[in-house]
Symmetry: C2
Subunit: 187 residues, 2 copies
């Protein structure tokens, strides 16, 4: 992560990674097939840490309506606490088919996770029965844009990034939350 941040992913030869690791070449290749596998592992760990933080939050907050919004604060705070990983995530799109595959796996896992949580809310009668996959896409899209405007463009402070995403989900929740007794809304 240190090398990728300092030199850029493309400008970091596997040789540098091995030299900095303090392990030999054969040890490296016992764990990683290539440089892409290193990137994939970094992103996977990052994703796991996000999911883990969200799960921890779920144990203290039972309300689905609060969760829908505040989960995004938990997620965005993980990004804010990890600027190097966030930069890697935001900057690497389109560099190579292998990198795109790693990033897509991250996004797919996040989409799947969002979708399942939305579905749970619908099944509990707390959320309206809206098309959920497009909503999961909208959620991820809003997160990715906020991260890139923070870490690439310096448009947001970390705090503004967090607040922008949370505010957006507060607005999204207005329509998502099923109000008991409210008339069915045509969509």
């Amino acid at each position: 992560l240190e090398l990728f941040s300092r030199q850029g992913y493309l400008q970091t030869p596997v040789r540098d990674i091995i030299d900095c690791s303090g392990f030999g070449t054969s040890t490296f290749y016992r764990f990683f097939a290539n440089k892409e596998a290193v990137l994939a592992a970094l992103l996977q760990d990052f994703l796991d840490s996000i999911m883990e933080a969200v799960r921890r939050y779920y144990t203290v907050e039972p309300r689905l309506d609060v969760r829908f919004i505040e989960t995004k604060r938990v997620v965005m705070e993980r990004f804010a606490a990890n600027p190097e990983l966030s930069a890697l995530y935001a900057r690497s799109h389109g560099l190579s088919p292998g990198i795109d595959r790693c990033l897509k796996e991250f996004d797919d896992a996040f989409l799947e996770f969002s979708y399942r949580n939305l579905r749970h809310g619908v099944l509990q009668g707390e959320f309206r029965d809206l098309p959920l996959l497009p909503i999961a896409h909208g959620i991820l899209g809003s997160i990715k844009l906020a991260v890139s405007r923070w870490i690439i463009h310096g448009e947001f402070t970390a705090e503004e990034m967090v607040e922008t995403v949370v505010s957006f989900h507060r607005s999204l929740a207005v329509g998502l939350l099923a109000e008991r007794g409210a008339p069915a809304i045509e969509t």
Copy 2:
């Protein structure tokens, strides 16, 4: 655009652009300071064509609630009709500070445009008075993600990309639209 699509932006020397243009070096530099200026011009034209298509659509559709959703169809169809420009837009993030600046200008103009339209809806009493800048970010984020999942990852057909974004805005509209006589919603 042809050279950038075929060879990639970074792999296209200004020399190639000049040679393919059929004009001399001095003519090129009378119009463009450098390669970045060519990219900026391409993205600016693309953005203008999107804005133009939206404005044309506004002349035939007066209802703000329908506009909020169907504008996104118009926008996404411009992306779908321009795969090379969409690829340039989706793939170039993070390549260089100059490219990032071009892309940011595109995004800023789009955010500003979205924000003004939302504000208009609020002032007309058609939309709820929600925090609009985060919503504009959410809108742009959902569009960018759909474009990249179409053109980079091949996850969506062009039609699925359009429908995903339109569906998401239909859900977003459920909360955005002020129902007359509805109670004020805490946000």
